[in-house]
Symmetry: C2
Subunit: 385 residues, 2 copies
DNA sequence: GTAACTTCCGCCGAAGATCGAACAAAGCCT
DNA sequence: AGGCTTTGTTCGATCTTCGGCGGAAGTTAC
């Protein structure tokens, strides 16, 4: 059932969201008596979930004791698995990064090897942060492919050989594990860290391919089969000749993705294989590369213009490898969206580069873990145990 | 705050959703003691919200007393305002239509005249249904244009002269009034009446123009400015010559809407002005009209293919005037969507004509009113008053 | 037909949760 | 220093919920 209002979990949610920092705040917000709130807070302190800090500002009377999430004793991990990299961040309960690391890693080596790698990194990070393994409460993992979120099993991922239907959470003992598509966790990370008050947000990742994470009413929209946001294979007009690995032609990804731009640069006699090569060329001032990136922006903008009309978001965030040259990409996107979408939808729309940048995925994966752990239901379970 | 679990409102929700029809069911579902449930139910019966009916089937012991929403004493209205018509339905608390009516009416005559018309129809319907005016608890209204849902004020509607920013709810005294875009209420009506267990649904209305209502996680998605679902002005490829009333060209509506098809038929020397004329020609077996409708289906399908990749719905419902010839429209839509969308997204996707048909809007508007009235918060307010 | 069994429902005392008043604590203001 | 204001705690009163008991109303077995 839905959580009890004013329950311990509810109280903790208000504290973690920053809506309330004192007992009086909580009493006002929940409508419960001060004595009841004290009781709840005591229970949360006893369980090590909340701590009191030095007194706050007096407003003419006794200064209130500040409350905040107890950052010791608990740890959470965000894991960002890419085709060729692995980033892990250890966070405390309020989302601050305690330690992080990054290395090259090939996801194609299969789940056992990759997860062993992650596990080892986790141990090391726990060591540097000085927390025991038992402090780790939940792990969020973003992977480069579709996932059945409820079970944490990848669902026919094209670039993750050996991972199909592999039960990722089972690999870790005694910890809750949440697995989601990388673009989804990036959207979550960006929303929670930079646009927490926006109700509806799109995170567009422009890298080798193109994908999109959707936040609707503050929550991730995954769709019926968990495949929502797969905008890389939306058709764009006037590029019927561009074949895509999905079998169709004129897919957005096949004409505006990093790999596609690199291919076209190669045709022009420039050495480029990946999105990173494209970025390097643009940063070196190559006009051909710059032109193609801007053109890609216009094509992405054409698709986004449709999605703006349809979804009417408040914010569109552009991330991924190519957002490193976001001035050029954004110019093309903005130009097209503002020309092709309805004024009512674009009037209060902002289109910005990612603020969390390269960390969007680890942060989002960590938030996924933390929010799961802090959900009122889970907290009530812990407190009443 | 969130409603109390197992509160009177919660209990009523379970009854109204049909999840529970006896006190024992409620006890099982809520986890509350049987005695507590009895107390809740008594309160609801006392307030006239629930009634007991004759005994149900015994399962080996004493047969349970059936519970259901008390259909007397309350009434709700759904109002469907179109450019040239007005439909009103009076419903009881469980959504059954008690009486309905339909007449021609020009929305351009302005809010005072139109709402007076609605008010008069309401009185007449209340009379035939034998209920006093005081029984009317809430009214839902669907209008052909954008609305700021929170305030019930139309927001620069193109085909509703005189309505801009008019506070529709203020016109009615002592009744709660909810105003929303017509496509949104149609989506709601179709979802609640035919696809209640689908989480994500799109309702596409193909009439003079083209619009879309979005149900995400069982709730209407209205977007940041309430303009979500405005797919009529999404660009379709290969029709740059087709100018649209919005100022852009190649808008979906400008090439596949009823008005656009009629215009092209006129160019071919056939008498057609509206979507209804197109339908008549198709039904008369005119091959030109049939070809154009099928072609329109393909164009709509092209846009929907994008939206399927992006949103990953479970169901797409096709409604509106042109859905009367849905065999032809759907053929084009299905063909394109299944070819252009990703297999993972289309595998469990069903694309069907509207089952509620012409009544989608009134039913949806009524559901909007009923659901507002039956929301746990509102019921708790009533019971605790 | 009757006895045993099952399920449903209301009653009531016990246990638990919440409230609010009273009081103590801690700083501000004059 | 003494009053004022706001915060936090203690504690008895009140309200809510629980769960056992018994009566009601059927079904099943014999």
């Amino acid at each position: 059932m839905t959580p009890q209002p004013g329950s311990a979990g509810d109280v903790l949610t208000l504290i973690s969201a920053g809506s309330a920092t004192t007992r009086s705040d909580l009493a006002r917000l929940t409508g419960l008596a001060r004595s009841t709130i004290s009781q709840r807070v005591d229970a949360l302190i006893e369980r090590g979930l909340v701590e009191e800090t030095e007194n706050g500002e007096s407003t003419g009377g006794r200064p209130p004791r500040q409350l905040r999430l107890h950052t010791e004793d608990h740890a959470f991990a965000g894991v960002d698995l890419g085709a060729t990299h692995c980033r892990v961040a250890l966070m405390d309960i309020s989302g601050n990064v305690l330690a992080e690391c990054e290395d090259s890693m090939l996801i194609g080596e299969g789940p056992e090897k990759v997860l062993a790698h992650v596990d080892q990194r986790l141990d090391r990070l726990l060591g540097t942060a000085g927390r025991p393994r038992s402090a780790l409460r939940a792990i969020g993992i973003g992977v480069p492919g579709p996932v059945e979120f409820a079970t944490g099993r990848p669902n026919n991922p094209p670039i993750m050989p050996g991972w199909n239907d592999y039960p990722v959470p089972d690999y870790f003992d005694g910890v809750e594990v949440l697995v989601d598509n990388d673009v989804n966790v990036m959207a979550l990370g960006e929303h929670r860290n930079s646009f927490a008050d926006a109700g509806h947000l799109l995170f567009v990742k422009v890298g080798t391919g193109i994908g999109c994470g959707i936040v609707a009413q503050g929550r991730l929209h995954r769709g019926a089969q968990g495949s929502a946001g797969d905008i890389g294979h939306i058709r764009v007009s006037g590029h019927e000749d561009a074949g895509c690995r999905c079998g169709n032609s004129a897919c957005l990804e096949a004409v505006a993705g990093g790999a596609a731009i690199a291919r076209r640069l190669t045709e022009l006699g420039l050495a480029a294989e990946t999105g990173a090569d494209v970025v390097a060329l643009v940063q070196a001032g190559n006009t051909q590369a710059l032109r193609l990136v801007r053109e890609a922006g216009r094509l992405i903008g054409e698709v986004l213009a449709s999605l703006v009309n349809f979804f009417n978001p408040e914010v569109i965030v552009i991330g991924g490898a190519l957002s490193r040259v976001h001035e050029h990409l954004l110019a093309g996107i903005r130009e097209t969206v503002y020309r092709r979408s309805l004024p009512l939808a674009t009037h209060h729309l902002s289109i910005t580069p990612s603020r969390t940048g390269i960390n969007a995925a680890v942060l989002g994966a960590g938030m996924l873990a933390i929010e799961h752990y802090l959900s009122p239901d889970n907290i009530n379970r812990i407190v009443n145990a």
